[in-house]
């Protein structure tokens, strides 16, 4: 079985799944500058999609459009059958189904780790407090830091903070997780602990869209890798295809620079 057959096989494997995120011709402008130029892609339920590309290529902008942290000006974005429009109710619905992990963690510094995680389940999902807390403790166990529940974010290391941020997103029981360069602000020795959590998450079957420069992670867990440059998706393929037999010159150049 050659590599392109593998890609086809992967696409076949995903073909019978439901579409989770559908983007059609998404355009995004900052003033005169066009950050996204007709981005079209479909991410299936349970898929792990890694988005990579040089800085300024629009990958972060794209992922932030998907839960409306940025507003796209053209095209359509549909998440789990809900179209992103200016309708606040749709935005609320999508945000409660889509978890996001940021480069700078963005934990709430005035709340304890436990309160960081339980805030949204209690106030958005209307869960009873003790139920939310036991779930939060289970999530902290899952990301490997159950003993930090009562601390404040400022008392944790970067890697621990990012794991809390992942737990905070998971507490909303999202169907999709977006990761916006989750390891870029971390010291090298802390990257692995975060990636391990993300790998475990990828194997659990949740839909993930990850913007990252960690090619090892991409090779290991991604179902598909999307390469972006200049606001466009240049190449899409399985990791085998992407790393061993890229078709586009720009992809080859990018890979030669970072590998």
């Amino acid at each position: 079985m050659n590599i392109d057959d593998a890609t086809t096989a992967a696409n076949d494997r995903l073909a019978d799944r439901d579409d989770m995120i559908v983007c059609v011709d998404v355009d995004k402008f900052y003033g005169d500058f066009q950050a996204l130029k007709g981005v079209t892609a479909t991410i299936k339920e349970g898929e792990v999609a890694v988005v990579c590309g040089p800085s300024g290529s629009g990958k972060s902008t794209w992922i932030r459009c998907i839960n409306r942290l940025e507003v796209h000006q053209g095209g359509d974005i549909v998440v789990d059958g809900i179209e992103l429009t200016n309708d606040l109710r749709n935005i609320e619905k999508i945000r409660s189904e889509v978890g996001m992990v940021f480069q700078q963690f963005n934990l709430f510094p005035h709340l304890t780790v436990l309160d960081n995680i339980t805030l949204a389940p209690i106030w958005v999902r209307k869960k009873p407090r003790d139920e939310a807390e036991s779930m939060a403790r289970a999530l902290l166990e899952r990301v490997g830091i159950p003993e930090q529940a009562e601390k404040f974010p400022g008392q944790l290391s970067g890697g621990q903070q990012q794991r809390v941020a992942i737990a905070r997103s998971l507490a909303m029981e999202p169907r999709v997780m977006l990761f916006d360069e989750p390891t870029s602000a971390l010291d090298p020795e802390m990257i692995k602990e975060v990636l391990d959590v993300m790998k475990e998450l990828a194997r659990s079957g949740i839909t993930m869209m990850v913007v990252t420069h960690e090619m090892g992670f991409a090779r290991e867990v991604a179902d598909r890798i999307m390469f972006m440059e200049g606001g466009e998706i240049v190449e899409v393929g399985t990791p085998e295809h992407f790393f061993t037999n890229p078709t586009e010159d720009r992809t080859k150049l990018f890979l030669s620079q970072i590998l």
Binding site: R95, F102, N106, F108, P109, H110, L119, A120, F152, M172
Partner: protein
């Protein structure tokens, strides 16, 4: 680490780690800090000389034979409440007792003091003894008064002073006090700097806080019965020195009750702190602090002559109806599957409530003011209801909160609408420290929410809110406080429609609150701008609504950041109440500056009163400032 309260220092002392810098001996400390080089030594000496001159000046002023402290002693009541009617004076004490009790309760509930280290106590005692000794030596010898009661003068015409030795003998009682304090302190210090053995073994090196508080209170009460603090009177519009035994004229008994109350409330607070009701107690005491200024105002100024027929036929049924029916409605609106019906109902209620007010303005149909207010509150509660959807406990919270608010609002409204029987003798019924504190507290409490709203408006993404808030803030900040006060006391009554009256105090409070809110808004805005974009995005990403985002994420952090500025605002609001004198109110400073010097007994005696007033202002502001430092430390400001 220059500003540390004794408690945290003491706590640190308890756990000295080997890594800490070695303790310097006194001599080493002097050498490294005061005499490290020539320039430093010269500055030290100059500083000491300046301190000596200032201390001597103050002492000579305070203890001068020319001072008439009796003017202040006699007028303590005037300084506190000016001309509040004698027969009703018990109300003032009740109000004060409430505040004192609440303060003791809160101190007990919130204090995290474990105990007072004996060595710390010993240092305080020795410090006090040394201070007294220094003051006794520094003060100049007194002027000699001859047998004819006049100052003895030398040939050159300057007053003759006693010799230094005579002066020291004259001050022997002060010396005794200083020596007792020093000896007690030194004794305690030496006892507790090595492990305690023998009879004292059971005493730990720390005294429990409750015993320290009670000994302190005991000493204060003792001083009430030993030190002649003074009696005073207000008769027929003039002040005369007179002693009396009624509640209005006595200090000893009421103040003894106050201090006992403080101690007992502190005990209750400590008990609650260790019980499982601590959360409820904290919330309850906070609520009481918020509503007490308004409630106490009515206690002091009003004695409603209730018409019980009306109360039973109208007031009570109406309050109950709003409480119970409103509660039932809110219970329904917090059901899990309420969906859109909740929003529609809340909006409909709001429209109806606003329409009621419009109708009142044009006089379309009559309606009790209470009902209008209740409908508006119900609409607001209905708007808040979606936040309480969920488990039964949460829904119950909302309904109970509603019942509490209704009870309070209907009680206050009934009391305010009933004519008062308190016979106020003159226009300046509230004056002195009472007026100053009342205005300051009300202004701070009222301007806080308004200021926060203005700040949120100014940083809102809706242009109309932004424009309105910005122009309001800029207009108010461009106008001096005095002109705002004059405008509200003189001009506003002219603009009011016929039949509507605004008491001068109410007008002034309104103006001052609006003024203060503008400044407060700018301080809060500074805090709001320090919140990073990431915090907003994270709050959005986990699905919080914008109200929840503001309430849980943005405001707590913004207010924490702006604590220093907010406290500065509180302090300046408190001090600037002295401008009330300009529009004719008798505030604390004006009593000392104009009322006392106008009394026939104390014609022109001004400086003593002003010094005392300044000290009391300082006392309050010092407490506020100290408290804010603790608050800043507790929320970890400056450490992140």
């Amino acid at each position: 680490m220059s500003e540390e309260d004794p408690i945290s220092v003491a706590l640190k002392e308890e756990q000295v780690s080997p890594n800490e810098a070695p303790r310097l001996s006194v001599l080493q400390w002097f050498r490294t800090n005061l005499f490290s080089n020539w320039a430093n030594a010269i500055l030290t000496v100059l500083g000491l000389v300046a301190a000596f001159l200032m201390l001597r000046g103050v002492l000579n002023f305070v203890f001068s034979e020319n001072r008439e402290w009796v003017a202040v002693r006699t007028n303590l009541r005037a300084l506190m409440t000016l001309s509040y009617p004698e027969s009703q004076y018990v109300r003032v004490w009740v109000a004060l007792g409430f505040v004192v009790g609440l303060a003791g309760l809160s101190a007990g509930i919130w204090s995290d003091w474990g105990g007072v280290p004996v060595r710390r106590l010993a240092t305080w005692l020795m410090g006090a003894g040394a201070l007294i000794a220094i003051c006794v030596i520094v003060r100049e010898p007194s002027v000699i008064i001859g047998t004819d009661g006049k100052v003895v003068r030398t040939i050159e015409g300057s007053p003759l002073r006693e010799s230094f030795v005579d002066a020291m003998f004259d001050r022997s009682s002060w010396w005794i006090a200083a020596v007792i304090l020093l000896a007690t302190g030194a004794g305690l210090w030496s006892r507790f700097s090595r492990p305690v053995r023998g009879r004292w073994r059971r005493l730990r090196s720390e005294l429990p806080i409750t015993s320290v508080v009670f000994v302190g209170i005991g000493l204060v009460i003792l001083s009430l019965w030993v030190v002649p603090y003074g009696h005073y009177a207000f008769v027929d519009g003039t002040y005369i020195a007179e002693s009396g035994t009624t509640v209005a004229f006595s200090t000893q008994m009421p103040w003894t009750v106050m201090w006992v109350l403080l101690g007992l409330a502190f005990l209750v607070g400590r008990f609650l702190r260790s019980s499982r009701y601590v959360g409820m107690a904290k919330g309850g005491s906070n609520m009481l602090w918020l509503i007490s200024p308004f409630a106490l105002f009515w206690v002091v100024l009003r004695d409603p002559a209730l018409d019980y027929g009306h109360v039973l036929s109208t007031d009570l049924p109406m309050g109950l109806a709003f409480g119970l029916l409103g509660g039932a409605l809110l219970w329904l609106l917090t059901r899990n599957n309420i969906g859109e019906i909740g929003r529609i109902t809340a909006t409909a209620l709001l429209v109806f409530a606003v329409f009621n007010w419009v109708a009142a303005f044009f006089g379309w149909y009559p309606m009790l003011q209470k009902a209008r207010i209740s409908f508006l509150l119900l609409a607001l509660a209905a708007l808040l209801a979606p936040n309480f959807i969920g488990e039964v406990a949460k829904r119950r919270q909302l309904v109970l909160g509603w019942l509490g608010v209704m009870a309070l609002v209907h009680y206050l409204a009934t009391m305010i609408n009933t004519p008062s029987t308190v016979d106020l003798q003159s226009d300046e019924f509230l004056g002195g420290l009472g007026l100053t504190l009342f205005v300051a507290v009300i202004v701070v409490i009222l301007s806080f929410p308004l200021g926060v709203l203005l700040a949120l408006g100014r940083t809102s993404k809706f242009p109309i809110f932004r424009m309105l808030s910005t122009s309001y803030i800029e207009v108010i900040r461009g106008v001096p406080l005095i002109s705002v006060l004059i405008f509200f006391s003189v001009m506003v009554p002219l603009f009011l429609p016929d039949g509507m009256e605004l008491a001068e105090l109410a007008a002034v409070l309104t103006g001052y609150t609006l003024f203060s809110a503008a400044y407060l808004a700018e301080n809060v805005r500074g805090g709001l701008q320090s919140i990073t974009k990431g915090q907003y995005e994270a709050a959005d990403a986990i699905g919080l609504t914008s109200a929840q985002r503001t309430g849980f994420i943005v405001l707590p952090q913004a207010l924490t950041v702006s604590i220093p500025q907010l406290v500065g605002q509180v302090i300046s609001s408190f001090k600037e109440t002295s401008l009330l004198a300009i529009i004719g109110l008798f505030d604390f400073l004006r009593v000392a500056n104009s009322v006392i010097p106008a009394q026939s007994e104390f014609m022109g005696v001004k400086r003593e009163g002003i010094l005392v007033v300044a000290m009391i202002y300082f006392f309050f502001n010092f407490i506020i400032s100290k408290y804010s430092q603790r608050l800043e430390r507790r929320v970890g400001l400056g450490e992140r």
